[in-house]
Symmetry: C2
Subunit: 353 residues, 2 copies
Amino acid sequence: MDPKTYNLAIVGYGGMGSYHVQLIEPIERLTVAGVFDIVDYRKELAAAKGLQTYDSLEAVLSDDKVDIVLIATPNDVHKTIAIQALRAGKHVVCEKPVTVSSSELLEIMETAKETNRVFMVHQNRRWDEDFLIIQDLIAQKKIGEVFRVESRVQGANGIPGDWRQLKAYGGGMLLDWGVHLLDQLLLLTGSRIDSVAAELSFILGTEVDDGFTSHIRFKDGLTAVIEVGTTNFVKLPRWYVKGTEGTTVIRDWDLSGETVAINPDVAKVEPTPIQAGQGLTKTMAPPSEESTLRSPIEKAQSTKASFYDNLVSVIEGAAEPLVKNEEVLRVLRLIETIFEAAEKRAVLKDLEL
Amino acid sequence: MDPKTYNLAIVGYGGMGSYHVQLIEPIERLTVAGVFDIVDYRKELAAAKGLQTYDSLEAVLSDDKVDIVLIATPNDVHKTIAIQALRAGKHVVCEKPVTVSSSELLEIMETAKETNRVFMVHQNRRWDEDFLIIQDLIAQKKIGEVFRVESRVQGANGIPGDWRQLKAYGGGMLLDWGVHLLDQLLLLTGSRIDSVAAELSFILGTEVDDGFTSHIRFKDGLTAVIEVGTTNFVKLPRWYVKGTEGTTVIRDWDLSGETVAINPDVAKVEPTPIQAGQGLTKTMAPPSEESTLRSPIEKAQSTKASFYDNLVSVIEGAAEPLVKNEEVLRVLRLIETIFEAAEKRAVLKDLEL
């Protein structure tokens, strides 16, 4: 008997919904059963691509051939649709941010448990090459013990002009991009969080944040800066990571960057003062060329399954989910803590995070 | 009658003391009268350069031909020497950080007033070209209203191996380099400070900070990140400045960098999504080439007098000091606030700063 092919229906056929069609195409055990969107022209777009369309969410949920529902709607309705779909016996994949609050996710998780269905959040950036490289770097101590991680995503386009600018729809950069960067960060250490400070940016005059800066200190001493901006015409590096034996920079998604590390074969040389501006400095003089080693960014060695291959295995009980709901819940709680720290303008400590 | 030439004696002939000899050489109205240092070999070094040497601080202060005393000793003795010199009728120039606490500076300022002598702190980095460029950029609104200033100095040499590692001597990076970056920052806006948050770094295991990150919010809405590091094998840009119409980056003291600004002649174009890592993004897609203008860093147009030319004018009552003691006092109070914020791990608000 051939292994079963699972039918997936897409709810919400905007930018991400249509992107998922491409993601699913190479997955042997998955096929797109059809598309539903509340906007007619999006259904027409889907039909023009040869996809079946549904007239209502109810039509999707009552279609027995649908095994999996993918939710790629605005964030505010993720919870309602997810719970309906689970109760209709479907497995559910949900776009990020999974919900606007951790309590909403808890409701979904309980429903998934009750209905014995799989619920998995599409935290796709756990598969980003730049992230996997940093994960390897830290795990393999390539620059010694890492004590500082700075992870930034910056653009100059403002917030795209749709529901992402609106609070009621779960808009804003902390929820949109913050959820990726914070999710990645929490995978870089096994430590609990010690304190959180944050500042939201409202330069563009939107009701939601157009960016943010957060400082997160872990109990093991690691400190992190997580920053998103949409008013940045020049970008700071995507990753800036300091270890006891060197610094690694990945400048952009093109993986340009380098590692500069202490050369263990050369005794430390007292630096020679340099003229810098209107003064001399020994402290800020460069290390001598011999005392450091420069190397390009090395490819990550990850062999983990793709998101959708993993989903099929999880549905069949053959693997643990690569995105665990408890992990996603922790990220949402961290986001809530960041909102609170920014609003109170305080460093939040004694956290259960 | 020829204008008077002032005789300056150097107290403390380390790296900075000897550097001042070079600074004074081109100043017509100033000459180096001699050098005192408590370390014999430093006096020998000075003598070998043809400089007169003194056997004691008292010998300097009782030499009637000495008009000005330059203090370039470790930080902990600045106050005592400054007050002695002022009381001996000398004008005083002092290296930075002027004192380890604001109360010490207040004592000096009172003594300068009583004795009617000039006391000026050598905040030489007010003349740094990179700083003058940023000052012009903001004053001339070249990138619109500036709402974010990030100013960083980073090296990989640790703290130079002398008194700068010791608390009792006023060591540590906040006092050493912080005093420059904070002094520059306060000259970029007329606004009072609204809040301060900070984190000190103790990676190297010294008793003083080997670097720090501080977040300063001004009442006019400007936010600033001031950061110094000595464990950074790759540097983040020296200046990263965001305005409502563009971003300016100065990468290093070599003044490499650029301004990328909105092209006012091109209507805003909706960005095209790009593939970035394992996802699509419209928000973080680059603006189209036509919609922005790139320009190299322009030279500053400053015509201000040099530190020592200004000193002579101030002594003669012909000019206001370019480094005012009240400004230096405010910087010290800000440093004290940063120490307090870091220690309490709190955002300090309702400041009189």
